[in-house]
Amino acid sequence: MIKVNFKHGMVEMNHGSGGKAMHQLIEQLFLKAFDNAWLLQRRDQASLNITNPRLVMTTDGHVISPLFFPGGDIGSLAVHGTINDIAMAGATPLYLSVAFILEEGFPLSDLQKIVHSMAKAAKDANVAIVAGDTKVVERGKGDGVFITTTGIGVVPTEVQLTNQIAPGDKVIVSGFIGDHGIAVMSKRQNLQFNTEILSDSTSLHGLTAQMLRAVPTLHCLRDPTRGGVAGVLNEWANQYGLGFVIDENALPIRDAVRGACELLGIDPLYVANEGKLVAVCAAADADNVLAAMKAHPQGLDAAIIGEAISDSHCFVQMKTSFGGKRIVDWLAGDQLPRIC
């Protein structure tokens, strides 16, 4: 078989046309990297044998720019993002499928890097990528590569997430917020600034499992990606018809992120995260949940940042460190375009 030139080659229209070139790309790149029994059957679908009836399914499109950023790339991000959406249901992620939309002319070396990064992220998370699809669009009709991942997971019997929030419940974040958005932004073409901030992109199902072992009746879990922590709290406030009060002094934010936000005139509460979660639990359980989080490497810097209150306006309020109070509203417009 002809060897694909990953060093100097580029994506061509025939890589998506169903012919020999596509076959070679699948065999020499995707099958080799993702390497599992389902893919090696070389069918158009994967047959999965899942006995637990509490199935969870999600899908996620990834269009980030730039494709490679400090601490990750679109490949690892696509795996982490979908796994985290599964994990936030209290579920164990099992299988992923992936669809690539490639732009004609995209360097195969970059594609290879991205695919290897996906394979590693999936392997680290103990999740198999069992199905896939590749399409190619003409030059100028895409932006290098777009990736869509779909995931399936199962909720263990003992997990009883209530998905309800009541006034008095405590809000916990799992660590420093804003790292991902600032890391990506620092590499954008018209913004480049020097920072040592790395994206926090990672899979969180290990952390959620540990939290749910400690308190199986957690109330809510959400990963604050686009829209940041402020977005999650506003969504919950509207969904559950209540308000939140958070304490600015309690927010874990790195100094470098604070500084970058100050410089750019943005608020870290709206900046995206790809390896953090926000949890809500009964006040009585808060210390247990926090202890379980702090015992996990991904929750070392977890902190209780506020609580739910009854409020017919459904406002998210913040006690500022200056001594005042303000509303933390939904984000209007785009604070940072194309961050995930």
Partner: protein
Amino acid sequence: MKYISEFRDGKMAQLIAEKIKRTVEPNRHYAIMEFCGGHTHAIHRYGITSLLPKNIELIHGPGCPVCILPIARIDYAIALAELPQVILCSYGDMLRVPGSDQYSLLKAKAKGADVRMVYSIDDALMIARQNPNKEVIFFAVGFETTTPPTAVALLQAQKEQLKNFTIFCNHVLTPIAMQALLEAEKNDVNSSVNLDGFIGPSHVSIVIGSDAYKIVAEHYHKPVVIAGFEPLDVMQSIEMLVVMINEKRYGIENQYTRAVSSTGNIKSQQFIAETLELRDRFEWRGLGYIEKSAMKIKAEFAAFDAELRFPMTIAEGKEHKACECGAILRGAKKPQDCKLFAVACTPENPLGSCMVSSEGACAAYYAYGRLSDD
């Protein structure tokens, strides 16, 4: 963050708040205008109003460059962006400002215009160098703070003999606008605004110096305190203003001594004088036409003037009928007096310019002020 957190210290704020409380005369009203949108933003973001006695009223001034630009200029910018072969660059907030019929640069972009958000005019110069076959137009807005970079860009473009770079110049002047506000107040016997003093601009004053407000202070007998943008700066400036008002003193005092001198940044002023000159008159949203209140590009730099390279006749802009931005910019009305506020006009769907920039009175009040409505 060193050198910033010191200016946001809550305990110090309480101390100044108590001092202000002791200093105000309980039976009088203090109407203080913060001219700059940067101050409006800080006042709301840190909840400063809630720390002040009830008889101090802070009135938001027209110092938000996004807010005061008349609709016709927005319409002009949109028309420029829609010309073939044009890349129009501007600061982020400008893209969302509604022009006539709620059309905006962002909507023009969605329809195919090449509109780019930049953080500085330097980026626009870079885009021009990289795209020699395109016409790159920088939509320049702002008070004296953003004027020097525009002046430097003109010099740079001339030095490089850039053939495809022009500037749509909309720079406006702070002291003239303050005088126009006071003149309107003097001539309007029914005026609801009666200003006791000004919190003076910070960044603008770094460029023009504190002496630039002499006419405001001496001709109109108003106290002006130049203030930094950090919340403790604002608190301290209010305290200084209260003392001046109590003692019936007018004049200029400088709270922001760590950055502002009496004469300002001479080098910047030279760059501006070299490249720009006063317009006979310029329209301000809410304030109408004000004589000698804005800058245009000098004849020597005509090659870089977008208004000369792409002359257009723009019809008078159409405001939304119920929009109160004009009165709000004059300090005559508050955001919550507008029927559209927070109902039809929100940051996601701004109908007036004051709802766009976080420095706009409506956007700042929407984001931070609604709590006090209870």
